[in-house]
Protein backbone atom coordinates (compact mmCIF):
# COMPACT_ATOMS: atom_id res chain seq x y z
CA UNK A 1 0.00 0.00 0.00
CA UNK A 2 2.79 2.36 0.92
CA UNK A 3 4.52 1.74 -2.39
CA UNK A 4 1.40 2.53 -4.34
CA UNK A 5 0.99 5.67 -2.28
CA UNK A 6 4.48 6.81 -3.17
CA UNK A 7 3.91 6.18 -6.85
CA UNK A 8 0.64 8.05 -6.79
CA UNK A 9 2.03 10.97 -4.88
CA UNK A 10 4.84 11.38 -7.34
CA UNK A 11 2.37 11.23 -10.23
CA UNK A 12 0.64 14.28 -8.76
CA UNK A 13 3.88 16.22 -8.57
CA UNK A 14 4.71 15.31 -12.15
CA UNK A 15 1.79 17.35 -13.49
CA UNK A 16 4.06 20.37 -12.97
CA UNK A 17 6.20 20.54 -16.13
CA UNK A 18 9.83 20.44 -14.99
CA UNK A 19 12.64 22.53 -16.39
CA UNK A 20 15.26 20.61 -18.39
CA UNK A 21 18.32 19.89 -16.28
CA UNK A 22 21.85 19.47 -17.58
CA UNK A 23 22.69 16.98 -14.84
CA UNK A 24 19.68 14.75 -15.52
CA UNK A 25 20.54 12.40 -18.37
CA UNK A 26 17.60 10.26 -19.41
CA UNK A 27 17.84 6.64 -20.63
CA UNK A 28 17.88 6.03 -24.40
CA UNK A 29 14.59 6.54 -26.23
CA UNK A 30 13.11 8.91 -23.64
CA UNK A 31 10.38 11.21 -24.97
CA UNK A 32 10.58 14.97 -24.42
CA UNK A 33 10.89 15.97 -20.80
CA UNK A 34 7.38 17.42 -20.32
CA UNK A 35 5.79 14.27 -21.75
CA UNK A 36 8.31 12.01 -20.10
CA UNK A 37 7.43 13.24 -16.66
CA UNK A 38 3.75 12.59 -17.30
CA UNK A 39 4.18 9.22 -18.95
CA UNK A 40 6.73 7.75 -16.56
CA UNK A 41 4.96 5.97 -13.72
CA UNK A 42 8.15 5.60 -11.64
CA UNK A 43 7.81 1.82 -11.67
CA UNK A 44 11.57 1.17 -11.91
CA UNK A 45 11.14 -1.64 -14.45
CA UNK A 46 13.69 -0.02 -16.80
CA UNK A 47 16.19 0.02 -13.93
CA UNK A 48 15.62 -3.69 -13.39
CA UNK A 49 15.96 -4.45 -17.12
CA UNK A 50 19.25 -2.58 -17.45
CA UNK A 51 22.09 -5.16 -17.61
CA UNK A 52 24.73 -2.84 -16.15
CA UNK A 53 22.35 -1.02 -13.76
CA UNK A 54 23.45 2.24 -15.35
CA UNK A 55 19.86 3.40 -15.03
CA UNK A 56 19.16 4.59 -11.52
CA UNK A 57 16.15 6.34 -10.05
CA UNK A 58 16.57 10.05 -9.41
CA UNK A 59 16.34 11.44 -5.92
CA UNK A 60 15.16 14.83 -4.67
CA UNK A 61 18.42 16.48 -5.69
CA UNK A 62 17.25 16.34 -9.31
CA UNK A 63 14.07 18.26 -8.50
CA UNK A 64 10.83 17.18 -6.84
CA UNK A 65 9.09 16.51 -10.16
CA UNK A 66 11.78 14.02 -11.19
CA UNK A 67 11.91 11.94 -8.04
CA UNK A 68 12.09 8.21 -8.84
CA UNK A 69 12.27 8.78 -12.59
CA UNK A 70 15.06 6.91 -14.38
CA UNK A 71 18.35 8.60 -15.12
CA UNK A 72 21.69 7.48 -16.48
CA UNK A 73 24.47 7.33 -13.89
CA UNK A 74 27.73 6.83 -15.79
CA UNK A 75 29.61 6.34 -12.52
CA UNK A 76 28.00 2.90 -12.29
CA UNK A 77 28.51 1.97 -15.95
CA UNK A 78 27.96 3.20 -19.49
CA UNK A 79 24.69 2.79 -21.42
CA UNK A 80 25.01 -0.76 -22.73
CA UNK A 81 22.57 -0.14 -25.61
CA UNK A 82 25.11 2.29 -27.03
CA UNK A 83 28.18 0.32 -26.00
CA UNK A 84 27.06 -3.12 -27.10
CA UNK A 85 26.12 -5.44 -24.26
CA UNK A 86 22.38 -5.04 -24.94
CA UNK A 87 23.13 -6.38 -28.45
CA UNK A 88 20.62 -4.18 -30.29
CA UNK A 89 17.76 -5.16 -27.99
CA UNK A 90 16.68 -2.00 -26.23
CA UNK A 91 15.97 -3.63 -22.92
CA UNK A 92 14.87 -0.54 -20.99
CA UNK A 93 12.43 0.62 -23.66
CA UNK A 94 11.10 -2.87 -24.26
CA UNK A 95 10.43 -3.17 -20.56
CA UNK A 96 8.81 0.28 -20.23
CA UNK A 97 5.09 -0.26 -19.71
CA UNK A 98 3.95 3.23 -20.71
CA UNK A 99 6.04 4.32 -23.65
CA UNK A 100 7.94 6.98 -21.74
CA UNK A 101 10.96 5.18 -23.20
CA UNK A 102 10.47 4.52 -26.92
CA UNK A 103 12.20 1.77 -28.84
CA UNK A 104 14.38 3.74 -31.24
CA UNK A 105 17.19 3.00 -33.63
CA UNK A 106 20.64 3.07 -32.05
CA UNK A 107 21.86 5.59 -34.63
CA UNK A 108 19.21 8.05 -33.44
CA UNK A 109 20.15 7.94 -29.77
CA UNK A 110 22.10 10.75 -28.15
CA UNK A 111 21.81 10.81 -24.39
CA UNK A 112 23.95 13.88 -23.95
CA UNK A 113 27.58 14.88 -24.17
CA UNK A 114 30.70 14.06 -22.19
CA UNK A 115 32.47 17.20 -21.01
CA UNK A 116 36.20 17.29 -20.33
CA UNK A 117 37.79 19.45 -17.67
CA UNK A 118 41.35 19.86 -18.92
CA UNK A 119 42.62 21.04 -15.54
CA UNK A 120 41.79 17.66 -14.00
CA UNK A 121 42.67 15.51 -17.04
CA UNK A 122 45.75 13.32 -16.47
CA UNK A 123 46.84 13.55 -20.13
CA UNK A 124 46.78 17.36 -20.01
CA UNK A 125 48.86 17.12 -16.84
CA UNK A 126 51.67 15.09 -18.37
CA UNK A 127 50.58 11.51 -17.60
CA UNK A 128 50.27 8.62 -20.02
CA UNK A 129 46.52 8.31 -19.96
CA UNK A 130 44.09 8.01 -22.84
CA UNK A 131 41.66 5.71 -21.09
CA UNK A 132 38.70 7.76 -22.37
CA UNK A 133 39.64 7.16 -26.00
CA UNK A 134 40.31 3.48 -25.28
CA UNK A 135 36.85 3.06 -23.79
CA UNK A 136 34.94 5.07 -26.39
CA UNK A 137 32.87 2.76 -28.61
CA UNK A 138 32.89 5.31 -31.46
CA UNK A 139 35.95 5.71 -33.68
CA UNK A 140 35.92 9.51 -33.96
CA UNK A 141 34.18 10.90 -30.90
CA UNK A 142 37.50 11.22 -29.03
CA UNK A 143 40.55 11.85 -31.16
CA UNK A 144 44.12 11.96 -29.92
CA UNK A 145 46.49 14.80 -30.75
CA UNK A 146 50.08 14.16 -31.74
CA UNK A 147 51.22 15.03 -28.23
CA UNK A 148 48.90 12.34 -26.80
CA UNK A 149 46.02 14.41 -25.50
CA UNK A 150 42.33 13.59 -25.96
CA UNK A 151 40.03 15.94 -27.90
CA UNK A 152 36.27 15.49 -27.53
CA UNK A 153 33.91 16.00 -30.46
CA UNK A 154 30.50 16.93 -29.07
CA UNK A 155 28.53 16.33 -32.24
CA UNK A 156 29.76 12.74 -32.61
CA UNK A 157 29.57 11.82 -28.90
CA UNK A 158 26.39 9.92 -28.09
CA UNK A 159 26.72 10.34 -24.34
CA UNK A 160 27.03 6.64 -23.49
CA UNK A 161 29.22 7.52 -20.50
CA UNK A 162 31.93 4.89 -21.08
CA UNK A 163 34.69 7.51 -20.79
CA UNK A 164 33.16 9.12 -17.70
CA UNK A 165 32.87 5.72 -16.06
CA UNK A 166 36.51 4.81 -16.69
CA UNK A 167 38.25 8.16 -16.11
CA UNK A 168 40.97 7.39 -13.52
CA UNK A 169 41.57 11.02 -12.49
CA UNK A 170 40.58 11.95 -8.96
CA UNK A 171 38.34 13.90 -9.06
CA UNK A 172 37.07 12.75 -12.43
CA UNK A 173 37.97 14.99 -15.35
CA UNK A 174 34.79 13.99 -17.19
CA UNK A 175 31.11 14.61 -16.55
CA UNK A 176 28.09 13.52 -18.56
CA UNK A 177 25.60 16.29 -19.28
CA UNK A 178 22.30 16.14 -21.14
CA UNK A 179 23.45 18.93 -23.47
CA UNK A 180 22.65 18.18 -27.09
CA UNK A 181 20.44 15.20 -26.23
CA UNK A 182 18.04 13.81 -28.84
CA UNK A 183 14.69 12.71 -27.47
CA UNK A 184 12.24 10.32 -29.09
CA UNK A 185 9.28 12.02 -30.80
CA UNK A 186 5.94 11.99 -28.98
CA UNK A 187 3.06 11.94 -29.72
Amino acid sequence: MEGAAVLGGLRLISIVPPAARADLVRPPGAVEEAYFNLMCIRCGICFEACPSKTIMLAGFEKGAASVNTPMINPLIGPCEYLRGRCEDAMRCAEACPTGALQNVDKAQVKLGTAKLNQELCLAYNGRECLVCSEMCPLPDAITVTEDQKPVFHNTICTGCGACVNACPANPRALTLLSEGERRARWP
Binding site: M1, E2, G3, A4, A5, V6, L7, G8, G9, L10, R11, L12, I13, G29, I41, G44, P51, S52, K53, M56, F60, V67, N68, L75, I76, E80, G84, R85, A93, A95, C96, P97, T98, G99, L101, Q102, N103, V104, D105, Q108, L122, R127, E128, C129, L130, V131, S133, E134, M135, P139, V144, E146, Q148, A166, C167, P168, A169, N170, A184, R185
Partner: protein, 357 residues
Protein backbone atom coordinates in the same frame (compact mmCIF):
# COMPACT_ATOMS: atom_id res chain seq x y z
CA UNK B 1 11.89 6.30 -35.04
CA UNK B 2 9.08 3.92 -34.41
CA UNK B 3 6.34 4.21 -31.85
CA UNK B 4 6.29 1.79 -29.02
CA UNK B 5 2.88 0.52 -27.91
CA UNK B 6 2.37 0.25 -24.15
CA UNK B 7 2.41 -3.44 -23.35
CA UNK B 8 2.84 -4.72 -19.86
CA UNK B 9 0.77 -2.20 -17.94
CA UNK B 10 -2.26 -0.99 -19.82
CA UNK B 11 -3.96 2.37 -19.63
CA UNK B 12 -6.32 1.06 -16.96
CA UNK B 13 -3.70 -0.01 -14.48
CA UNK B 14 -1.73 3.11 -15.28
CA UNK B 15 -4.69 5.20 -14.14
CA UNK B 16 -5.17 2.93 -11.16
CA UNK B 17 -1.71 3.72 -9.83
CA UNK B 18 -2.55 7.39 -10.17
CA UNK B 19 -5.91 7.02 -8.49
CA UNK B 20 -4.58 5.24 -5.45
CA UNK B 21 -1.83 7.76 -5.21
CA UNK B 22 -4.10 10.81 -5.04
CA UNK B 23 -5.43 9.53 -1.72
CA UNK B 24 -2.01 9.27 -0.25
CA UNK B 25 -0.07 12.10 -1.82
CA UNK B 26 0.73 13.58 1.55
CA UNK B 27 3.04 10.85 2.70
CA UNK B 28 4.78 10.49 -0.61
CA UNK B 29 7.88 12.42 0.22
CA UNK B 30 8.54 10.79 3.56
CA UNK B 31 8.03 7.31 2.19
CA UNK B 32 10.35 8.04 -0.69
CA UNK B 33 13.19 8.76 1.63
CA UNK B 34 12.77 5.31 3.13
CA UNK B 35 12.66 3.82 -0.34
CA UNK B 36 15.76 5.41 -1.78
CA UNK B 37 17.36 2.74 -3.96
CA UNK B 38 20.54 1.10 -2.81
CA UNK B 39 23.53 1.37 -5.05
CA UNK B 40 25.47 -1.72 -6.04
CA UNK B 41 28.14 -2.52 -3.48
CA UNK B 42 31.10 -1.77 -5.71
CA UNK B 43 29.88 1.74 -6.34
CA UNK B 44 31.18 3.69 -3.39
CA UNK B 45 34.59 2.16 -3.83
CA UNK B 46 34.59 3.13 -7.49
CA UNK B 47 34.03 6.75 -6.65
CA UNK B 48 37.16 7.16 -4.62
CA UNK B 49 40.48 6.61 -6.27
CA UNK B 50 43.05 4.54 -4.48
CA UNK B 51 45.94 6.81 -3.44
CA UNK B 52 49.10 6.08 -5.36
CA UNK B 53 51.10 5.17 -2.30
CA UNK B 54 51.00 5.20 1.45
CA UNK B 55 47.99 2.92 1.86
CA UNK B 56 48.80 0.23 4.35
CA UNK B 57 47.11 -3.03 3.45
CA UNK B 58 45.54 -5.04 6.24
CA UNK B 59 48.11 -7.57 7.32
CA UNK B 60 45.61 -10.41 6.91
CA UNK B 61 45.15 -9.43 3.27
CA UNK B 62 48.79 -9.08 2.39
CA UNK B 63 50.38 -11.99 0.63
CA UNK B 64 53.96 -12.44 -0.24
CA UNK B 65 54.50 -12.92 -3.92
CA UNK B 66 55.32 -16.54 -4.67
CA UNK B 67 58.83 -17.42 -5.67
CA UNK B 68 58.97 -18.12 -9.39
CA UNK B 69 61.69 -19.84 -11.29
CA UNK B 70 63.77 -17.23 -13.00
CA UNK B 71 65.84 -19.42 -15.27
CA UNK B 72 65.30 -18.59 -18.89
CA UNK B 73 65.67 -20.98 -21.76
CA UNK B 74 68.82 -19.47 -23.11
CA UNK B 75 71.45 -20.40 -25.55
CA UNK B 76 74.83 -19.04 -24.65
CA UNK B 77 73.18 -16.64 -22.19
CA UNK B 78 70.77 -15.35 -24.80
CA UNK B 79 66.99 -15.22 -24.63
CA UNK B 80 65.38 -17.42 -27.22
CA UNK B 81 62.62 -15.87 -29.33
CA UNK B 82 60.90 -17.82 -32.07
CA UNK B 83 59.03 -16.23 -34.96
CA UNK B 84 57.02 -18.71 -36.98
CA UNK B 85 55.41 -17.63 -40.23
CA UNK B 86 52.55 -19.64 -41.66
CA UNK B 87 53.46 -19.19 -45.30
CA UNK B 88 50.98 -21.08 -47.46
CA UNK B 89 49.64 -22.92 -44.41
CA UNK B 90 46.74 -21.41 -42.50
CA UNK B 91 46.97 -23.92 -39.65
CA UNK B 92 47.31 -21.56 -36.70
CA UNK B 93 47.52 -24.39 -34.17
CA UNK B 94 50.53 -25.86 -36.00
CA UNK B 95 52.18 -22.42 -36.00
CA UNK B 96 51.71 -22.09 -32.23
CA UNK B 97 53.08 -25.58 -31.65
CA UNK B 98 56.10 -24.97 -33.85
CA UNK B 99 56.79 -21.62 -32.16
CA UNK B 100 56.73 -23.13 -28.66
CA UNK B 101 58.72 -26.23 -29.67
CA UNK B 102 61.38 -23.99 -31.19
CA UNK B 103 62.15 -22.44 -27.82
CA UNK B 104 62.24 -25.73 -25.93
CA UNK B 105 58.65 -26.94 -25.76
CA UNK B 106 55.82 -26.57 -23.29
CA UNK B 107 57.16 -29.32 -21.00
CA UNK B 108 59.95 -27.02 -19.82
CA UNK B 109 57.30 -24.77 -18.28
CA UNK B 110 54.41 -27.07 -17.41
CA UNK B 111 54.64 -30.32 -15.49
CA UNK B 112 51.89 -32.76 -14.58
CA UNK B 113 49.21 -31.55 -12.20
CA UNK B 114 50.20 -27.89 -12.26
CA UNK B 115 47.65 -25.11 -12.34
CA UNK B 116 48.50 -23.09 -15.44
CA UNK B 117 46.87 -19.72 -15.97
CA UNK B 118 46.41 -18.86 -19.65
CA UNK B 119 45.95 -15.12 -19.94
CA UNK B 120 44.51 -13.69 -23.17
CA UNK B 121 43.80 -9.95 -23.25
CA UNK B 122 40.05 -9.52 -23.68
CA UNK B 123 39.84 -5.80 -23.07
CA UNK B 124 36.35 -5.41 -24.54
CA UNK B 125 33.78 -7.42 -26.46
CA UNK B 126 35.50 -6.61 -29.76
CA UNK B 127 37.00 -9.70 -31.43
CA UNK B 128 39.92 -7.70 -32.83
CA UNK B 129 41.22 -6.69 -29.43
CA UNK B 130 41.44 -10.32 -28.24
CA UNK B 131 43.84 -12.90 -29.67
CA UNK B 132 42.55 -15.37 -32.26
CA UNK B 133 40.58 -18.03 -30.40
CA UNK B 134 42.60 -20.74 -32.17
CA UNK B 135 45.80 -19.43 -30.60
CA UNK B 136 44.31 -19.55 -27.10
CA UNK B 137 42.90 -23.00 -27.83
CA UNK B 138 46.26 -24.29 -29.11
CA UNK B 139 47.98 -23.13 -25.91
CA UNK B 140 45.25 -24.68 -23.74
CA UNK B 141 45.60 -28.00 -25.58
CA UNK B 142 49.38 -27.98 -25.24
CA UNK B 143 49.07 -27.38 -21.49
CA UNK B 144 46.63 -30.29 -21.22
CA UNK B 145 48.93 -32.56 -23.20
CA UNK B 146 51.78 -31.72 -20.82
CA UNK B 147 49.55 -32.78 -17.92
CA UNK B 148 48.81 -29.28 -16.65
CA UNK B 149 45.41 -27.95 -15.65
CA UNK B 150 44.73 -24.86 -17.77
CA UNK B 151 42.62 -21.99 -16.45
CA UNK B 152 41.77 -19.20 -18.86
CA UNK B 153 41.56 -16.08 -16.68
CA UNK B 154 40.96 -12.43 -17.45
CA UNK B 155 39.96 -9.13 -15.87
CA UNK B 156 38.62 -6.85 -18.60
CA UNK B 157 39.31 -3.14 -18.65
CA UNK B 158 36.04 -2.31 -20.35
CA UNK B 159 32.68 -3.86 -19.55
CA UNK B 160 31.80 -7.18 -17.99
CA UNK B 161 34.59 -9.76 -18.22
CA UNK B 162 32.37 -12.85 -18.48
CA UNK B 163 30.34 -11.20 -21.25
CA UNK B 164 33.48 -10.17 -23.14
CA UNK B 165 35.02 -13.65 -22.88
CA UNK B 166 31.84 -15.24 -24.20
CA UNK B 167 31.45 -12.65 -26.94
CA UNK B 168 34.92 -13.14 -28.42
CA UNK B 169 34.43 -16.92 -28.31
CA UNK B 170 37.05 -17.80 -25.69
CA UNK B 171 34.51 -19.27 -23.24
CA UNK B 172 33.01 -21.69 -25.77
CA UNK B 173 36.35 -22.78 -27.18
CA UNK B 174 37.96 -23.40 -23.78
CA UNK B 175 34.99 -25.20 -22.29
CA UNK B 176 34.77 -27.47 -25.32
CA UNK B 177 38.18 -28.90 -24.44
CA UNK B 178 37.42 -28.96 -20.72
CA UNK B 179 39.41 -25.94 -19.57
CA UNK B 180 38.04 -23.65 -16.88
CA UNK B 181 37.30 -20.02 -17.76
CA UNK B 182 37.46 -17.55 -14.91
CA UNK B 183 36.16 -14.00 -14.66
CA UNK B 184 38.75 -12.70 -12.20
CA UNK B 185 36.60 -9.73 -11.22
CA UNK B 186 34.22 -12.05 -9.40
CA UNK B 187 37.04 -13.10 -7.06
CA UNK B 188 38.20 -11.55 -3.82
CA UNK B 189 41.00 -9.02 -4.29
CA UNK B 190 44.34 -9.69 -2.60
CA UNK B 191 47.20 -7.29 -2.01
CA UNK B 192 50.72 -8.30 -2.94
CA UNK B 193 53.86 -6.27 -2.28
CA UNK B 194 56.04 -5.16 -5.18
CA UNK B 195 59.48 -5.18 -3.54
CA UNK B 196 61.42 -4.03 -6.61
CA UNK B 197 58.83 -1.57 -7.84
CA UNK B 198 59.85 2.01 -8.57
CA UNK B 199 56.33 3.42 -8.93
CA UNK B 200 54.33 0.62 -7.29
CA UNK B 201 54.86 -0.64 -3.76
CA UNK B 202 51.91 -2.99 -3.69
CA UNK B 203 49.28 -4.09 -6.14
CA UNK B 204 45.94 -5.82 -5.90
CA UNK B 205 45.41 -9.04 -7.81
CA UNK B 206 43.29 -12.18 -7.55
CA UNK B 207 43.74 -15.62 -5.90
CA UNK B 208 43.76 -17.44 -9.27
CA UNK B 209 46.79 -15.41 -10.29
CA UNK B 210 48.45 -15.67 -6.89
CA UNK B 211 48.06 -19.47 -6.61
CA UNK B 212 49.25 -20.30 -10.11
CA UNK B 213 52.05 -22.74 -10.84
CA UNK B 214 52.72 -21.20 -14.22
CA UNK B 215 51.42 -18.27 -16.24
CA UNK B 216 51.20 -18.18 -20.02
CA UNK B 217 50.55 -14.82 -21.62
CA UNK B 218 48.73 -15.03 -24.96
CA UNK B 219 48.47 -11.45 -26.25
CA UNK B 220 47.61 -10.12 -29.66
CA UNK B 221 50.11 -7.75 -31.23
CA UNK B 222 48.48 -4.31 -31.05
CA UNK B 223 49.18 -0.63 -30.96
CA UNK B 224 47.99 1.21 -27.87
CA UNK B 225 47.04 4.83 -27.47
CA UNK B 226 48.55 5.35 -24.00
CA UNK B 227 51.30 2.72 -23.91
CA UNK B 228 52.39 2.79 -27.60
CA UNK B 229 52.13 -1.00 -27.92
CA UNK B 230 50.27 -3.65 -25.95
CA UNK B 231 51.82 -7.10 -26.11
CA UNK B 232 52.83 -9.35 -23.22
CA UNK B 233 53.96 -6.86 -20.56
CA UNK B 234 50.84 -4.71 -20.92
CA UNK B 235 48.71 -7.88 -21.01
CA UNK B 236 49.56 -8.40 -17.33
CA UNK B 237 47.34 -5.40 -16.54
CA UNK B 238 44.50 -7.85 -17.14
CA UNK B 239 45.37 -9.71 -13.94
CA UNK B 240 44.46 -6.81 -11.66
CA UNK B 241 41.18 -5.08 -10.71
CA UNK B 242 39.81 -2.22 -12.81
CA UNK B 243 40.53 0.39 -10.15
CA UNK B 244 44.19 -0.63 -10.13
CA UNK B 245 44.34 -0.19 -13.89
CA UNK B 246 43.03 3.34 -13.39
CA UNK B 247 45.62 3.99 -10.70
CA UNK B 248 48.41 2.92 -13.08
CA UNK B 249 47.35 5.65 -15.49
CA UNK B 250 47.30 8.28 -12.77
CA UNK B 251 50.73 7.32 -11.37
CA UNK B 252 53.05 6.47 -14.26
CA UNK B 253 51.72 3.90 -16.66
CA UNK B 254 54.97 2.67 -18.22
CA UNK B 255 56.77 2.27 -14.90
CA UNK B 256 53.73 0.59 -13.31
CA UNK B 257 53.56 -1.97 -16.13
CA UNK B 258 57.24 -2.76 -15.63
CA UNK B 259 56.83 -2.95 -11.84
CA UNK B 260 53.81 -5.25 -12.16
CA UNK B 261 55.82 -7.62 -14.36
CA UNK B 262 58.40 -8.06 -11.61
CA UNK B 263 55.76 -9.82 -9.47
CA UNK B 264 53.38 -11.19 -12.11
CA UNK B 265 55.78 -12.32 -14.80
CA UNK B 266 54.58 -14.74 -17.47
CA UNK B 267 56.60 -17.95 -17.71
CA UNK B 268 55.84 -18.18 -21.40
CA UNK B 269 54.61 -15.63 -23.92
CA UNK B 270 52.87 -16.62 -27.15
CA UNK B 271 52.11 -13.53 -29.24
CA UNK B 272 49.33 -13.80 -31.79
CA UNK B 273 50.63 -11.76 -34.70
CA UNK B 274 48.49 -13.46 -37.35
CA UNK B 275 46.72 -10.14 -37.65
CA UNK B 276 48.15 -7.09 -35.91
CA UNK B 277 46.25 -3.99 -34.91
CA UNK B 278 47.96 -0.96 -36.38
CA UNK B 279 47.59 2.83 -36.04
CA UNK B 280 45.83 2.81 -32.66
CA UNK B 281 44.49 0.48 -30.01
CA UNK B 282 43.53 -1.45 -27.94
CA UNK B 283 40.32 -1.17 -29.98
CA UNK B 284 39.47 0.58 -33.21
CA UNK B 285 42.81 0.11 -35.01
CA UNK B 286 43.27 -1.29 -38.50
CA UNK B 287 43.85 -5.04 -38.66
CA UNK B 288 46.70 -5.96 -41.01
CA UNK B 289 47.79 -9.51 -41.75
CA UNK B 290 51.25 -10.39 -40.45
CA UNK B 291 50.93 -14.17 -40.43
CA UNK B 292 53.26 -14.85 -37.51
CA UNK B 293 53.35 -16.38 -34.05
CA UNK B 294 56.08 -15.13 -31.72
CA UNK B 295 57.03 -17.13 -28.63
CA UNK B 296 59.55 -16.65 -25.86
CA UNK B 297 60.08 -17.37 -22.19
CA UNK B 298 61.34 -13.82 -21.85
CA UNK B 299 58.37 -11.43 -22.01
CA UNK B 300 60.57 -8.38 -22.58
CA UNK B 301 62.37 -10.03 -25.50
CA UNK B 302 59.04 -11.19 -26.95
CA UNK B 303 57.66 -7.65 -26.66
CA UNK B 304 60.76 -6.09 -28.14
CA UNK B 305 60.79 -8.38 -31.18
CA UNK B 306 57.01 -8.20 -31.67
CA UNK B 307 57.14 -4.41 -31.42
CA UNK B 308 59.95 -4.41 -33.99
CA UNK B 309 57.78 -6.44 -36.38
CA UNK B 310 54.86 -4.08 -35.81
CA UNK B 311 57.06 -1.06 -36.45
CA UNK B 312 58.24 -2.56 -39.73
CA UNK B 313 54.69 -3.45 -40.73
CA UNK B 314 53.42 0.07 -40.06
CA UNK B 315 56.29 1.58 -42.02
CA UNK B 316 55.56 -0.75 -44.93
CA UNK B 317 51.86 0.13 -45.15
CA UNK B 318 52.60 3.84 -45.37
CA UNK B 319 51.08 5.00 -42.09
CA UNK B 320 51.41 8.74 -41.56
CA UNK B 321 54.81 9.47 -39.97
CA UNK B 322 53.24 11.16 -36.95
CA UNK B 323 51.59 7.83 -36.05
CA UNK B 324 54.73 5.72 -36.29
CA UNK B 325 56.75 4.59 -33.28
CA UNK B 326 60.16 3.11 -32.62
CA UNK B 327 60.30 -0.31 -30.95
CA UNK B 328 63.52 0.68 -29.19
CA UNK B 329 61.78 3.66 -27.56
CA UNK B 330 58.75 1.93 -26.03
CA UNK B 331 58.97 3.11 -22.43
CA UNK B 332 57.46 0.15 -20.61
CA UNK B 333 59.60 -2.39 -22.49
CA UNK B 334 62.75 -0.48 -21.58
CA UNK B 335 61.60 0.04 -17.98
CA UNK B 336 60.94 -3.71 -17.61
CA UNK B 337 64.42 -4.48 -18.94
CA UNK B 338 65.90 -2.04 -16.40
CA UNK B 339 64.17 -4.00 -13.62
CA UNK B 340 65.58 -7.29 -14.90
CA UNK B 341 62.32 -8.81 -16.12
CA UNK B 342 64.10 -9.72 -19.36
CA UNK B 343 66.28 -8.29 -22.05
CA UNK B 344 65.35 -5.58 -24.52
CA UNK B 345 68.63 -5.73 -26.38
CA UNK B 346 68.37 -7.71 -29.65
CA UNK B 347 72.08 -8.54 -29.28
CA UNK B 348 71.20 -10.59 -26.18
CA UNK B 349 68.56 -12.59 -27.99
CA UNK B 350 68.67 -15.50 -30.32
CA UNK B 351 65.88 -15.13 -32.84
CA UNK B 352 64.72 -18.32 -34.53
CA UNK B 353 62.72 -17.55 -37.66
CA UNK B 354 60.82 -20.42 -39.24
CA UNK B 355 58.42 -20.87 -42.09
CA UNK B 356 55.77 -23.52 -41.56
CA UNK B 357 55.31 -24.45 -45.21
Amino acid sequence: MQMHEPQKVGRRSYLKYGGVGILAAGIAGAAHLLQKPEMPTGHSAQLTNVPSSGTKPLSTETHTSPQRKTTLITEGGKSLVSVVKGGSSTDIEAMVRRAVESIGGIQTIVSAGQAVVVKPPVFASDKNCAPDVRVVLAVVKMVQEAGGIPVVAESSGSGDTAFNLAKVGVTDAAEKVGAAVRDLQTEREVNIPVPNGLALHEVKTYPTILNRDALISVPRLKRHSSATVTISLKNMMGTIPKREMGRFHSVNLSQCIADLNTVIRPDLTVVDATYAMTRTGPTGGDMIEMDAIIASEDPVAADRIAAQKLQELEESIGLSPSRLFKAADVKHINAAAELGVGTNNPADMQIIEKLLS
